[in-house]
Structures are given as structure tokens and as C-alpha cells.
């Protein structure tokens, strides 16, 4: 590319909330005024991942890493960029344990313990400029599949990479593609599920904001592989910046001949449109998502027939998550073996997590599947702040579970998490410390699922409400000893008799907290006491 120095300013939603837009504009202005613009390029990028320290500014090639940058700091940063200028050390990241200032991002354990592949270009390239994506090898997968591979070969490559979907079950992506390929129909659809409704997760948003072309390229590969001409990205309307950047990316891809009729002068046509989801957690379920696009209430239906056979408008439809598509260009470009070289025997590749809650370093991380929870929370996350002790980590959002300290050395993969009562899911990872009440957390999740239940299965609609009311009364000090058994019984019934994933997994937060933190329930019920001091229990006579 150029040998210019680069000043990368993060323009993700997190940093923008801290004033990153003004920082970017002021930096550009200042560099121009100082006459540095021949040697220095000020670039807007997507999310760097370390949102907690934002707004972030990175100077490359040195890798100088500035945190919590305010517009008032800009002049000083600009001056530091003159020849022999000294970096602004007061803006360096400080290690939360030692207080030591670390000047470069590769010296920070939050970054250097990660393995960033899906996120490799997030925070490096300008998401609104296709040329930046092209300069990192973008869209070469399209050329490769169109001119060197048959659709069957593409599917075989995806299949042998071992990549799995991010729903509760971790369904193998290659099998899904194969089924869509075999379905006979003139019309087929490719849908990207970007309805990231899990509270506590934002990785899909960051990928779409930071590297939208990687998602588009993956969808084009999928269209070619299954024989579809139309793609659709179903993205939450709550993510306006992601919508905007996807729209720009689609326009630019069209102009450059990667979308539209006769892609790269081949016989293959493919178009992508955006559908903005109007806000319903249940629409993350694929048949509900389809119903929503078709103009119904987003309610799931019975499977089979699976969408691969009869999906949108009754046609074969492939639905994958944002990160699954973002991985495809890498699998095509580097080969299935490269992808499968990381991860565990049955769970390949990397996983992206939103690491949040009571942990020193919050942000977006990418790690090889199979890493332990301890490494994520302590090495990358920097442990629990304020001298508090770890209590639990919640993965998988409202469908997942809370795991205790005794499981910290468990590898993070699809099967181990399922065994422990949680799921991989979309990748929320919320750390909880001694000040978090586990009964309150269970109550919180059931409050969420009770609101989000679509209402068509009675056990889910009324059962989640019932469970919420029991949990609510326990947190208020009105719990009865038999409530624990009642919660277990209701959990079993809801799990067994719900149609879709929302209901089937809704009891998980309760079941895991009962399994690992039963003593907290008992303290609330028997001693009318909240060990974490969260619940307002009024003692008799007070």
C-alpha cells in the first residue's frame, strides 16, 4: 500500500458514544493544518474491540495505542507525529494490575493473547472504502470460486473445514449448504441472520460495522455454492450504523462488479438487499425470521420442513450467522485445513466473544475454540477489578447458563458448554463477581424471555411468566421451600413442550444457577437473606 504513517481512529458505536467522531474530524483537520498530510493518513476504522478504553486512536506502523482520547487531546497527538516527536504517554493504556503504562497494543495482554481472524481487519481498514478491503486480499475468494471451483467443490471445502453454526446446536455449516444445493428449485435465497438480539452480545454488530465486505463476500460464495441469485441481510433496526455501512458496502460491491448481473464477467448473478428487523428476540430463530420478512408476526413454525427445503416464500433458503459468512472468504482463500488447524477435535476455528460485566478489560475478543474460560477471563480480561472475587460467567445469553469457578478450566467449545448446561450461542460472555446475586440473574433472564416469548406455545408463554413470578417472589423474600422443586418441574415442562429454541432453552439460566448456586436460592428462601446484598429483602419487624 503506501508507506504513509497511519492514524487509525475507531468509529465503532462504542467509541462514537465517547465522542470519537469529533476526535476523527479534529485529527484530520489538525494534521492538514500542520501540513503533515503528505506523510500521514488519518483513517476512520471499525471497532478495535477494546471498547471500554475508547475512543481509541492507533498510530501505525509503530502500533502506538491511545486510550480514552478526547477532542482536547488531539493537538498533542498531532504534534507527536512530527519527525522525532515523542508519543503522548499520558494516553497510554495502563495495566490494571500493575499500573504500568503500555505504549503499543501488541504489548497489551487483552490483544496479544487473542487470535484474530474474523476480526483481523476490524479496526484496521476503513469499512466505508472497498479499496481498503481489496488491498487486504478482499474479494479474491469470489474470483477463485467463480473461475477455479465448482459449487460442489466450494461446499466440500466448507464441509471439510468443520465450521459449525452458532445456534444452540452448532449444526455443521457444510451439511446445511449441501442440503440447500440439493433442493431443486428455480429460486433460492441466502439469508444472513444479523438479528443479534441477545442482551450482552455485540460481536455481529462490530463485524458489520468494522468489516462489512467480509460478510457480503461470504454471502456471494454461499449464493454460488447453493445456486441462489438473491441474498438478504436481516439486521436489527437497533443497529443504525451497521445498516448504514452495509448499505455503502453493497453499493460499492455493485460498482466494482462483485454484485449484480454477470459477476466478474462470469455467468453468475447475485444481489443482496437489507431487511431491518423490527425488534423481536424470537426472530433469531430461522423460521420466525422468515415469517417476519414475509410480513407476519415473527412466530416460529414446526420443522421439518427445514428452511433448506422450504424457507422464504416456500423456496429453499440458507440461513447463517454474520460470523459464519465472514469466515467463508478465509476458508476459501486459505483452505479448509488452515481453518481446521485451530480449535478442538469437534469444534474448529475461532470464536468471537463479547467479554463484558465485572472484568477488568471489557471488549470484543476472538480466541481459538477450546481455550479455557480461565484464560479468557484472567489472561485476556485481566481478571476481576476492584479486588473482588469471581463468582460466575454467563455464556449464550438468555438461552445459556451461568458457570461457576469450578468450571473455569473447562475448554470453551460447543460440546463442553452444552454438557455444563450452557451453550456457545452468539457469543455473549458476561462475568459476574461476588456482588452479583445469582437468583437475581435468573430472575433477570426469565423477565427477558417472558417478555420475548412469541406466545404461541402455552408452556412457554405462561410457564416463563410463572417461573419469573416465583423467582421474583424469592428475591423479595417471599420464597417457599417447595419453590425450588416447582422451578425444576416447570423447567422440564417448558423444555419438553416448546416448539422453538427460545422456549426449549429459556429454563437454562434457572437450571444452571440451581445446579451451581443452589445455596443462594436456599439463603433467600430459608434465611430471607441475599448473600450478595442485591435483593431488597425486608426482614420481619423492620
Amino acid at each position: 500500500m503506501t508507506d504513509k504513517r497511519m492514524v487509525l481512529t475507531c468509529q465503532g458505536t462504542g467509541c462514537i458514544s465517547g465522542g470519537a467522531e469529533q476526535v476523527y474530524l479534529k485529527l484530520k483537520d489538525e494534521i492538514e493544518t500542520l501540513g503533515f498530510n503528505e506523510h500521514i493518513h488519518v483513517k476512520c476504522t471499525g471497532c478495535h474491540g477494546f471498547c471500554q478504553q475508547g475512543p481509541l486512536v492507533v498510530v501505525e506502523p509503530e502500533g502506538t495505542f491511545y486510550t480514552k482520547v478526547k477532542p482536547d487531546d488531539v493537538a498533542e497527538i498531532a504534534m507527536s507525529l512530527k519527525p522525532k516527536g515523542k508519543p503522548v504517554d499520558r494516553l497510554f493504556y495502563r495495566d490494571p494490575a500493575t499500573g504500568r503504562a503500555i505504549p503499543n497494543y501488541y504489548g497489551i495482554s487483552f490483544y496479544n493473547r487473542q487470535e484474530r481472524t474474523i476480526l483481523r481487519n476490524c479496526g484496521k481498514i476503513d469499512p466505508e472504502d472497498i479499496h481498503d478491503y481489496l488491498s487486504t486480499g478482499g474479494y479474491t475468494a469470489i474470483r477463485k470460486i467463480l473461475f477455479e471451483m465448482s459449487p460442489e467443490q466450494v461446499i466440500a471445502e466448507v464441509d471439510s473445514s468443520g465450521i459449525r453454526g452458532l445456534g444452540g446446536a452448532g449444526f455443521p455449516t457444510g451439511l446445511k449448504w449441501g442440503a440447500c444445493r440439493r433442493a431443486l428449485s428455480e429460486k433460492k435465497y441466502v439469508i444472513c441472520n444479523a438479528d443479534e438480539g441477545d442482551p450482552g452480545a455485540f460481536q455481529d454488530r462490530s463485524v458489520m460495522e468494522g468489516n462489512p465486505h467480509s460478510v457480503i463476500e461470504g454471502m456471494i460464495c454461499a449464493g454460488y455454492a447453493i445456486g441462489s441469485k438473491r441474498g438478504m441481510i436481516y439486521v436489527r433496526a437497533e443497529y443504525p450504523l451497521a445498516v448504514k455501512r452495509l448499505k455503502i458496502a453493497i453499493e460499492q460491491a455493485k460498482k466494482n462488479g462483485f454484485l449484480g448481473r454477470g459477476i466478474l464477467d462470469s455467468e453468475f448473478d447475485f444481489e443482496i438487499e437489507i431487511f431491518q428487523g423490527a425488534g423481536a428476540f424470537v426472530c433469531g430463530e430461522e423460521t420466525a425470521l422468515i415469517a417476519s420478512i414475509e410480513g407476519w408476526r415473527g412466530m416460529p413454525r414446526m420443522k421439518p420442513p427445514f428452511p433448506a427445503r422450504s424457507g422464504l416464500w416456500g423456496k429453499p433458503t440458507l440461513i447463517n450467522n454474520v460470523k459464519t459468512y465472514a469466515n467463508i472468504p478465509l476458508i476459501i482463500g486459505n483452505g479448509a485445513e488452515w481453518f481446521a488447524s485451530r480449535g478442538t477435535e469437534k469444534s474448529k476455528g475461532t470464536a468471537v466473544f463479547s467479554l463484558t460485566g465485572k472484568v477488568a478489560n471489557c471488549g470484543l475478543i476472538e480466541v481459538p475454540i477450546g481455550i479455557t474460560l480461565r484464560k479468557i477471563i484472567y489472561d485476556i480480561g485481566g481478571g476481576i477489578p476492584d479486588g473482588k472475587t469471581f463468582k460466575a460467567v454467563q455464556t449464550g445469553g438468555p438461552s445459556g447458563g451461568c458457570l461457576p469457578e469450578s468450571l473455569l478450566d473447562m475448554p470453551v467449545d460447543f460440546d463442553s458448554l452444552a454438557l455444563a448446561g450452557s451453550i456457545m450461542g452468539s457469543g455473549g460472555m458476561v462475568v459476574m463477581d461476588e456482588d452479583t446475586c445469582m437468583v437475581d440473574v435468573a430472575r433477570y433472564f426469565l423477565d427477558f424471555t417472558r417478555r420475548e416469548s412469541c406466545g404461541q406455545c402455552i408452556p412457554c408463554r405462561l410457564g416463563t411468566r410463572q417461573m419469573f413470578e416465583i423467582l421474583d417472589s424469592i428475591t423479595k423474600g417471599n420464597g417457599r421451600p417447595e419453590d425450588i422443586h416447582l422451578l425444576e418441574e416447570l423447567s422440564e415442562a417448558i423444555r419438553f413442550s416448546s416448539l422453538c429454541g427460545l422456549g426449549k432453552t429459556a429454563p437454562n439460566p434457572v437450571l444452571t444457577t440451581l445446579r451451581y448456586f443452589r445455596n443462594e436460592y436456599e439463603a433467600h428462601i430459608n434465611e430471607k437473606r441475599c448473600p450478595a446484598g442485591v435483593c431488597m429483602i425486608r426482614k420481619e419487624g423492620e
Binding site: T13, G18, Q52, E238, G295, V430, M432
Partner: protein, 156 residues
Amino acid sequence: MEERILRDILVHYRGNRGELVPILQEVQESLGYLPEKAMLDVAKFIGVSESHVYAVASFYAQFRLLPLGKKRVAVCRGTACHIRGAPQILSTVERTIGLKEGETSDDLEYTLETVACIGCCALAPCIRVNKDVSGEMTPEKAEELFPSAYRGVQDD
């Protein structure tokens, strides 16, 4: 006025059922909410029953059937926000602007809502006012988001 806006929106659509959600989104974007009359006209335009449009409009969290305040205050109740004190933030805001979750002030200045997740979890707890997100909230910072003149009192 409303009818003209609606007409201008509908000319861009063909009247397929699959356009229902996008049309309702555009109507709400222009009018701020979904007036009953607009929903009736949309039903006619798409050729579905009025109850179908109401069923869809009432299903999704995005749609509002009543006028909204000029400033839409959304307190995030995502998981990360919850364990870092979102319930206290919500009660502070409720007290400060004198509204309960879901309510709009009589002078149409504020609407108070909660949202499932804004997606700024690393900066929890967060509040969004219209399109601006503020992170790492404390009850004190939350109070400062609102002019002291506005404590349930008219603000001009």
C-alpha cells in the same frame, strides 16, 4: 398532511405483504409513531386485513402506537448493564423526569423506554437519548443528562 406523507411513502412500494414491515418502519420514521388511520390505509394498500397490520405492529418492539416525546430516552437493560447497575439507572431517570417506563410526558418532551440491548456492553450501563449513546452511567451522571429545569416541569 399525514395523508400526503403516507402517499409519498407508498408510491415507492408495490403492495406485497413482504413490504409490510418496511412500510410501517418508514411511516414511523416520518410520523414518529403509527397512527390508526395510517395503519388502516396500509392494510388497504397491501390487501390484508386491518387486524393483520395491528397484529404485526403490536408484535415488534420497534413500533409505537402512540405519539412519542421529542427526546426518546432508552435505558438499556442488557445483561452487562443489568449487573452493573441498570436498575438503579432506570429508577434515577424515572425520578428525574417523572415518567415510568413506557410513558410519554404530557408536553411530548420525553418518552422513557427500556431496550433489550444497545450493543455497547463494554461501556455498561448505557443510556441512549435519541441517537446518542452515553456509557459508563452512574445515577449522578444519568441525572445530569437532563436539564435541571426539567423535573416534570415545562421546559422552553
